[in-house]
Symmetry: C2
Subunit: 174 residues, 2 copies
Amino acid sequence: MTRILGIDPGSQRTGIGVIDVDAAGRCRYVHAQALVLLAAEDFPSRLGLLCDGLEALIAQWQPQQVAIETVFMDKSAMSALKLGQARGAALATVVRHRLPVAEYEPRVVKQSLVGRGAADKAQVQHMVRLLLNLPEAKLQADAADALAIALTHAHMSATAGRTGLSTDALRRRG
Amino acid sequence: MTRILGIDPGSQRTGIGVIDVDAAGRCRYVHAQALVLLAAEDFPSRLGLLCDGLEALIAQWQPQQVAIETVFMDKSAMSALKLGQARGAALATVVRHRLPVAEYEPRVVKQSLVGRGAADKAQVQHMVRLLLNLPEAKLQADAADALAIALTHAHMSATAGRTGLSTDALRRRG
């Protein structure tokens, strides 16, 4: 059994999703939430909230692997900067715990869950609910995205196991 | 006596400058270096090197305040993202130590040291050497920029002290 923490970084809200995957590649929902960072009075404090929240979740759920989405680049430099800072803060927290991190492009997450790189968010969320057997009402959008990233990592790791490739090698190919 | 850590964040090299400032606003050079991050094999590991390096420097030099440059936005979204991640990782490390962080725009650093918001890098570095009484050969460019940021914070704090404004209030006005 491997516990995977998925992170969907954002400077206003960061999605967190935790799943367990067994040796056969079966996934089980453990936890999902959004860390809401808007209450902080300035940007450094927002990153502080993000790191503290992530620290607490790592302590509580003890993930063994982390998956994080790469950044969607169809954005302005200002959005990229803000998102980059949130992503950097999240990665810094994870790396400090010496947890292995895999990165997936949004199109890879969509391809992995829906079978189409251009799938829309609603389809991805539908598949997350289906794969983890979750009721309709339960999921906040950022939390669902984080679960999607964790599920993608579970699928990639299972594929890597079958083909004898390391996840890292697969990721470099992707 | 207040010890200030200046950070010039970058995803390839992050400049670090440490100065002491006394009650009269006199500044003294303590330490400066560049954390070179290019040796890391992937981007998360690079942020890991940045955080570990910064952690070690905070432990060694025990700064009481931190000053960091805001990001120069005349860049592509991809540069902004990379820079943002380095800045986010640096801020996360600093915030974890509960150190107060002040942010200064590049033009404020230039204005504060050279008296002109449009001053070039060579002028800024010249003034850093002059103000801290450093020999010509000593300074690496990123380290000099980090010292410039620390000096700006020392000047702003001294101004804040004389006018009865908090540095934070001054910063918000800037």
